[in-house]
């Protein structure tokens, strides 16, 4: 029930905003970017928040999807829809191939390896000029057309991205609350215990890595068609860090937290234009402060605060769960 409630609230907000503020730049343009970032953050959160596998190279998959679509549609005149599928196929294969060796690593080593992967991809995007247009990027990417309806205006894109966001939230929440989702989270809790429950941890890790890469690739393709122009800047190491910041800011292992993180970090630069050159520093600063003061994330902290206030206001405080507290540190 809680699952459906969150989804309905999100849907109402997404529908109400453009009705309340028609033709508002902050809704159609920034709102679309928020939805796109939210989907990326949710996909990264699957890997980082739920399965506990950090990735500092998520922007690379986003980039592979975007460039696959851009190259196939501009240089080979593919149908945009077909190119989205092809991009996902390419991303899926790359993710699958690197998943096994990379995910054998843990903690800092995994962070380093994914960081390396992200940097390699962004160097290729800059250096393979014949295909990628080098630092200048690719332009004249055709717009997306669905059943004869060409998605061109900002509002169209708002509708598409919001729909994608709702769909992804629904699918991910269904997944998290299932056998596979529990296997993911068990991996985070204790790998050895997960194995002893019959969970093939190697394949679960590979699957979630590929799944999160596929989602990133999908929205990467959408991004390419929306922008009509892409350059390596959008898929750099800094964007990976930004995505990690969104996940951590909202709260690890919280889908709505990831959306919240995307919302804050997409609006911040818009509102604080003065920060332009210091954006990365601000993100780094937020990340540090969050880790120190609110390790469970802003969204989760707010959620707890609200539910506590709500409980205190409407009901007498609940008794503390039976826990004698002793012997707790024996483990």
């Amino acid at each position: 029930m809680k699952r459906i409630k969150g989804l309905i609230i999100l849907a109402i907000i997404l529908i109400a905003l453009p009705i309340l503020f028609p033709n508002n730049y902050f809704i159609t343009v920034v709102g679309t970017a928020v939805a796109l970032h939210a989907v990326l953050a949710i996909s990264l959160n699957l890997l980082m928040g739920y399965a506990g596998q950090i990735s500092l190279g998520h922007a690379a998959f986003f980039g592979i999807g975007a460039y696959s679509s851009a190259i196939l549609t501009t240089q080979h005149q593919w149908n945009p829809l077909l190119s989205i599928g092809a991009g996902m196929l390419i991303t899926g294969i790359i993710a699958f191939v690197i998943a096994r060796p990379i995910l054998k690593l843990k903690g800092h080593y995994l962070a380093m390896a994914t960081l390396g992967f992200g940097i390699i991809v962004s160097i290729i995007l800059v250096q393979a000029g014949n295909f990628t247009g080098g630092p200048d990027g690719l332009s004249d990417i055709p717009p997306l057309a669905l059943f004869g309806w060409t998605i061109s205006s900002d509002f169209h894109w708002y509708v598409v991205m919001s729909t994608v966001l709702l769909l992804i939230v629904w699918l991910v929440n269904n997944l998290i609350d299932s056998r596979s989702g529990r296997a993911l989270r068990a991996l985070h809790g204790s790998e050895v215990a997960a194995e002893m429950m019959g969970i093939n941890t190697t394949s679960v890790k590979t699957n979630v890595f590929v799944l999160s890469a596929l989602i990133a690739s999908f929205v990467g393709s959408l991004f390419a068609h929306q922008q009509a122009f892409i350059s390596p800047d959008s898929f750099s190491f800094f964007f990976s860090i930004e995505l990690v910041t969104m996940v951590v800011l909202g709260g690890l292992a919280s889908t709505y937290g990831a959306i919240f993180g995307a919302l804050v970090l997409t609006f911040l630069p818009e509102l604080l234009v003065v920060f332009e050159d210091y954006e990365v520093m601000v993100f780094g600063g937020i990340l540090m402060l969050m880790m120190i003061f609110m390790p469970q994330g802003l969204f989760v902290a707010l959620e707890n605060l609200i539910s506590r206030l709500y409980r205190n206001y409407f009901n007498p405080p609940l008794p503390v769960p039976a826990s004698d507290g002793e012997n707790h540190d024996v483990a």
Binding site: R179, A186, S190, M197
Partner: protein
Amino acid sequence: MTLLKVEGLLKSFGGVTAIADLDFEVPEGVVYSIIGPNGAGKTTLFNMLSGIYIPDEGSISLNGKDMVGLSPHKIARSGVARTFQNLQIFFNMSVLENVLVGCHLRIKENLISTALRLPMAVREEAKAKQWAIDALNFCGLGEYISSPSDALSYGVLKRMEIARALAMKPSIIMMDEPAAGLNDTETAEMLSLIRRISESGITVLLVEHNMNLVMQVSDRVLVLDYGSRLAEGSTEEIQNNPQVIAAYLGTDTNDGVIGTKTGGSHYAV
């Protein structure tokens, strides 16, 4: 009938022999305890039986099927469950979800129907929830079903680990020091829980330092010392075995019978 058969098992870590040429057989349906001083190789043995370590030599067979070299999740698939000496709780999940992970192999899942939450997936999920609740009730944890797992006491977490293992419907459960760190009341509850598990038809392999509990609950006992077998037999045989008495109590015995010393449930090493 023999359920678990171990022959010529050997494992050393960089020249230190942890298990040396060990043989034993666990008949189906018994409570089989493995005792021995700290460092005798009990946990190493458990880790080999559950596939975490690969033995250097020797064979392990379950129901006649060779288990050596199988990864832990494959061993789990053949009906082996275990609990851990240092608790391995999924603290990021609720008590119910922890135990639902134990149902992993019993849940039939189709990714499409799960992602779309089709009625088939909902039904399967409801069934699994019932299995998990049954396992929790069996372990006397009915009141904690919806608790988050990071708010519980050590004793409750120990039983939750057992419930999680039982949710697998294993043919054998390996329990690594289930009574360690428990107070007297909790230990008594653990004793009756082990009995109930055994009565439900599951073979129990027990590593435990609490001699009182071992002697009350076991059908057979294996005594390990420096990785090899010092003695094996019924509790009575073990209690009267002079070698065991010497190894455990030195020459200065109280009344010569392990586990009947007043309050002497934890021996000093």
